[in-house]
C-alpha cells in the first residue's frame, strides 16, 4: 500500500470517522490508522437472545476477571459486547494507589462510537464563557456562534432525535421527531413543571438514534441494545455512517491493526511529516507520511502519542511548548440522584425497548438565578419503567398462581441519575510511565486524576434535588443516593491538550491546530478547556468538522 497521503488520521471512532469523511469529501487522499481490528456489521449481536448466549447475559465472569478486570467496570462490557473492549493485559496503564482511574477503551474500527451512550447535547455560551466568568483555568478561544453551524452540520448528517425547548443553556438543534415519554415520565414531568415552572424542564433524551429513515439509514426498531451494534444502522457510529461516507469518495484508505507509536517531526520545516506505526499483528515498525495529521485517537491516547513523540525541540512532548500537554484531565462525575415508586396508571405500560431515557437540563447557577454554593451544574438522565419478572425473587409465593401474577408488570419506578461538570485542574494529569509498555512495546500512561470538592458538592445537590422532585411528583419509597465512582467511569475523559488563545498556556488554538506545529490538529476530547455537564461527543464531532474545513482551507492556500 502507498506510504504517502494528503492527510493522516489517527483513530477511526467518533472523531476519526468525521475527519475521514470531511477530509475525503474535500478531495484529500486520506489514510485512517486504526490500532485495533476490522469490525463490520457481521460483528453485531444485538438480536442474539439471552438463551443463545452461554451464560444468558450473566457473562463469562471468569474470562472477564482474567482479561478485562478494568473494562468490565463499564455497563456495556457484557457477555455480548465485551469483544468491543480492549484486553487489559495488552493495554496496561498505571495510577497512584490513592487515585484510581478507569481507562475504558475500545480499540477497533469504529472505536467507542460502537458502544457509546448516544446522548447528544449542544453546549451554550454558559459553558464556553464559564472559565472566563469563574476565573478558572483559561478562557475558551471560541464561543457558541463559532460552533453552532457545525453542530447543525453534524446533526443533519448523523440524525438526532429530540424535543425543542428554547432553553438558553441547552440550545435546540436540527432534530428528528423525539421519542415518547412513557406515562411514568409524563407524570413526573408535569409535577416538576407545576412546582418549578420555567426553571426545571423534563424532556426526552436527545439522542443520535433515528426515529425515522434518514440518509439511507433506517429508523429505530426498539430492540434496545445499541451497544451490541445495529444492523439497521439506526444509531450513529463511525462504522454506521461517517466511514461509509468517506469510503464512497474513493479517497479513503483504512488500515486496521495500525498502532501509532509516535509522530515524526521535521525541525527544519517545523512540521509533522508522518507517523510511526507498529503493525498490531506482525509488530513490525512501518512509517506513513502526510501533509497534515489529525489526532483523533481519544483524549488519553492522543495525549500519549504526543508525549511519546518528544524530540530535542520538544523534550517534554510534541507541541508542548506550553507545558500543558497531559494536564487538565477531566471526566464528568455521575451518580448523584434518587429513585422512587410513582403512581402512574397501573393499567398502562411501555412496550418496546426504547434505547433512550429522560433528560433534565442544568438548572443551577443559571444567569439571573440565585447562586448555589458550588460552581457550574449538573443534569439528569434516567426515566420510568415497571418491574418485570426480576421482582419474583422477593415476591412471596411460588407456583401456578404466582407465575401468572409475574406475567403482569410490577410497580412503576422513576430514577434520576445526575451527571455533573468537572472543573479543569492542573494537577489532574497524565505522564508516560517509564517502566510500563503495552503489548506492542509502546510506553504507556500513568494517570493522576481525582475529583475535587466542587464535583462532590454537585452530586450531593443532585441527590437532594432529585428527591425533592420525586416528592413533588408524589413518589413513595424515595431513595436518594450518591455513588462513589472513580474518574474515568463516565468515559467522558477530556482535556490534556486544551484549546486556548495563548500559546503559552494552551496546546491548541481555536481551530484545534497545534500552536507549535501548524499541520497538526487534535480534535478528540483532548482539546477541551472545560467539561460542561453535557455528554461531549457531539461537541467533539462539530469541532472536528470545523477543524477539517479550516485545515483544507489552509492547504488550498498553501499555508500548510
Amino acid at each position: 500500500m502507498p506510504r504517502t497521503y494528503d492527510a493522516l488520521v489517527v483513530g477511526s471512532g467518533m472523531t476519526g470517522g468525521w475527519a475521514a469523511k470531511e477530509l475525503t469529501e474535500a478531495g484529500l487522499n486520506t489514510l485512517v490508522l486504526e490500532a485495533g481490528r476490522m469490525v463490520t456489521t457481521e460483528d453485531y449481536v444485538e438480536h442474539v437472545p439471552p438463551w443463545q448466549m452461554r451464560f444468558r447475559g450473566l457473562d463469562d465472569r471468569r474470562a472477564r476477571a482474567a482479561d478485562q478486570p478494568v473494562q468490565s467496570e463499564c455497563y456495556a462490557c457484557d457477555e455480548w459486547s465485551s469483544k468491543f473492549f480492549v484486553n487489559d493485559h495488552e493495554n496496561p496503564y498505571a495510577t497512584p494507589a490513592d487515585k484510581p482511574f478507569l481507562f475504558l477503551r475500545g480499540r477497533q474500527v469504529g472505536g467507542r462510537s460502537i458502544m457509546w451512550g448516544r446522548q447528544t447535547y449542544r453546549w451554550s455560551d454558559l459553558d464556553f464563557e464559564a472559565n472566563l466568568r469563574d476565573g478558572i483555568a483559561i478562557d475558551w478561544p471560541i464561543r457558541y456562534a463559532d460552533i453552532a453551524p457545525w453542530y447543525d452540520h453534524v446533526e443533519r448528517f448523523i440524525g438526532v432525535s429530540g424535543e425543542k425547548l428554547g432553553l438558553p443553556q441547552l440550545p435546540d438543534g436540527q432534530f428528528l421527531p423525539p421519542m415518547d415519554l412513557n406515562c411514568g415520565e409524563t407524570l413526573v414531568r408535569d409535577a416538576i413543571a407545576k412546582h418549578w415552572p420555567g426553571e426545571r424542564v423534563l424532556t426526552i433524551g436527545r439522542c443520535a438514534i433515528l426515529t425515522e429513515d434518514h440518509n439511507g439509514r433506517k429508523g429505530c426498531h426498539y430492540c434496545g441494545y445499541c451497544e451490541r451494534g445495529c444492523i439497521t444502522l439506526s444509531y450513529f457510529s463511525s462504522l454506521n455512517a461517517t466511514l461509509p461516507a468517506a469510503r464512497l469518495t474513493g479517497k479513503l484508505t483504512l488500515r486496521p491493526h495500525s498502532v501509532v507509536h509516535s509522530l515524526i517531526y521535521d525541525p527544519q520545516r517545523q512540521r509533522v511529516t508522518g507517523v510511526r506505526v507498529i503493525d498490531g499483528e506482525t509488530k513490525h515498525a512501518i512509517e506513513f507520511s502526510g501533509r497534515i495529521v489529525f489526532l483523533c485517537a481519544s483524549t488519553l491516547e492522543s495525549a500519549r502519542i504526543l508525549l511519546n513523540s518528544a524530540t530535542r525541540e520538544f523534550p517534554t512532548g510534541l507541541a508542548n511548548s506550553s507545558g500543558e500537554l497531559g494536564r487538565n484531565l477531566m471526566d464528568h462525575i455521575m451518580g448523584g440522584g434518587a429513585s422512587g415508586k410513582v403512581d402512574a396508571p397501573a393499567d398502562r405500560m411501555p412496550v418496546g425497548r426504547r434505547p433512550n431515557g429522560i433528560y433534565l437540563p442544568r438548572f443551577r447557577n443559571l444567569p439571573g438565578r440565585p447562586k448555589s454554593p458550588f460552581l457550574r451544574g449538573y443534569a439528569y438522565q434516567g426515566g420510568a419503567g415497571r418491574e418485570g419478572w426480576g421482582r419474583g425473587t422477593d415476591l412471596p409465593g411460588f407456583g401456578a398462581d404466582w407465575k401468572r401474577a409475574l406475567r403482569d408488570p410490577g410497580p412503576w419506578h422513576f430514577n434520576f441519575y445526575g451527571f455533573g461538570e468537572c472543573l479543569p485542574n492542573h494537577d489532574n494529569y497524565v505522564e508516560i510511565d517509564p517502566n510500563l509498555k503495552d503489548a506492542w512495546g509502546i510506553p504507556t500512561l500513568r494517570i493522576h486524576c481525582a475529583y475535587g470538592d466542587n464535583e462532590w458538592a454537585l452530586m450531593k445537590d443532585a441527590s437532594i434535588a432529585a428527591a425533592e422532585m420525586l416528592a413533588a411528583a408524589g413518589a413513595r419509597d424515595i431513595a436518594p443516593f450518591i455513588e462513589h465512582n472513580p474518574p474515568g467511569k463516565v468515559i467522558h475523559e477530556m482535556g490534556t491538550a486544551r484549546m486556548g488563545r495563548d500559546p503559552k498556556t494552551s496546546v491548541l488554538n481555536g481551530h484545534n491546530q497545534a500552536h507549535d506545529i501548524p499541520n497538526l490538529f487534535v480534535t478528540d476530547g483532548a482539546c477541551m478547556a472545560s467539561s460542561a455537564n453535557q455528554n461531549p461527543s457531539i461537541t467533539y464531532m462539530a469541532l472536528t468538522a470545523r477543524a477539517c474545513a479550516y485545515a483544507v482551507d489552509l492547504m488550498r492556500r498553501r499555508e500548510i
Binding site: N182, R348, G352
Partner: protein, 190 residues
C-alpha cells in the same frame, strides 16, 4: 444420562422398592433420559432435587414450566463454570439441607415427597426468605439458600426460549415503542 447410569440408579433403589418409590423413580428417569449435555456438577439425585424444586416454583401452566425449560441444566452450567467453588459448595449443601428438612417433615427425600408435601416444605422456606428480606440489612446475615435457588429458577426460566417467548411474549425486535400501552395486552417487561 446414558442407559448405564439409568440402570445404576434403578439398581440402587430396588431393594426396598414400594409403589411410591417406583413412581418417583419413574419420574426421575423421565427427567433424566433424553436430555442434552451431560451434567458436570450435579449428581443424579441433586439434579432431580433441582428439577423438583424449580418445577414447584415455576410449574407448567398454560405454558411450560421450569422443568421443560431445562432450568436444571443452566444451573449445572453456572455451578461448573460461573460460581466460585465456595459458592458452588454452599449451593450443593443447600440442596442437601432441603433433603434433611424433607426427611424431618415427611420422612423422605424432597424428590420423593407428594406434591402437597413438597409445596408445604417450600412454603415454610418461602416464609423464612420473606422474613429475611424484611429484616434490617445490617443484622440479617447471608441470604437463605431458598432465595438463591428461587432466583436461579427465575433467571434460568425467563432467559430460556420457553420462558422468554412463551411465558413473557418477549419480542427480539419489537419494531416500535408504545409509551403507554394497555397493560393487559402488553408484553411483560423483562
Amino acid at each position: 444420562m446414558d442407559r448405564r447410569a439409568a440402570l445404576r440408579l434403578l439398581g440402587a433403589t430396588t431393594t426396598a422398592a414400594t409403589a411410591t418409590d417406583l413412581h418417583a423413580l419413574g419420574r426421575a428417569l423421565h427427567r433424566h433420559l433424553g436430555r442434552g449435555a451431560p451434567l458436570r456438577v450435579l449428581d443424579p439425585h441433586q439434579n432431580a432435587t433441582v428439577i423438583a424444586v424449580s418445577d414447584v416454583i415455576l410449574p407448567a401452566t398454560d405454558t411450560p414450566g421450569a422443568k421443560a425449560a431445562l432450568v436444571n441444566e443452566f444451573i449445572d452450567l453456572l455451578l461448573a463454570d460461573w460460581y466460585e467453588p465456595e459458592d458452588r459448595d454452599r449451593i450443593l449443601a443447600g440442596l442437601a439441607e432441603v433433603d434433611a428438612r424433607a426427611r424431618a417433615a415427611f420422612g423422605k427425600d424432597f424428590v420423593d415427597g407428594t406434591g402437597a408435601e413438597q409445596a408445604a416444605l417450600l412454603a415454610a422456606l418461602d416464609d423464612a426468605a420473606a422474613r429475611w428480606n424484611a429484616a434490617p440489612q445490617a443484622t440479617r446475615g447471608p441470604q437463605p439458600f431458598y432465595r438463591e435457588i428461587k432466583w436461579l429458577t427465575l433467571f434460568g426460566y425467563y432467559t430460556s426460549e420457553i420462558g422468554a417467548e412463551q411465558e413473557q411474549h418477549y419480542a427480539i425486535v419489537p419494531g416500535r415503542y408504545v409509551p403507554c400501552a394497555p397493560a393487559d395486552t402488553a408484553v411483560a417487561p423483562e
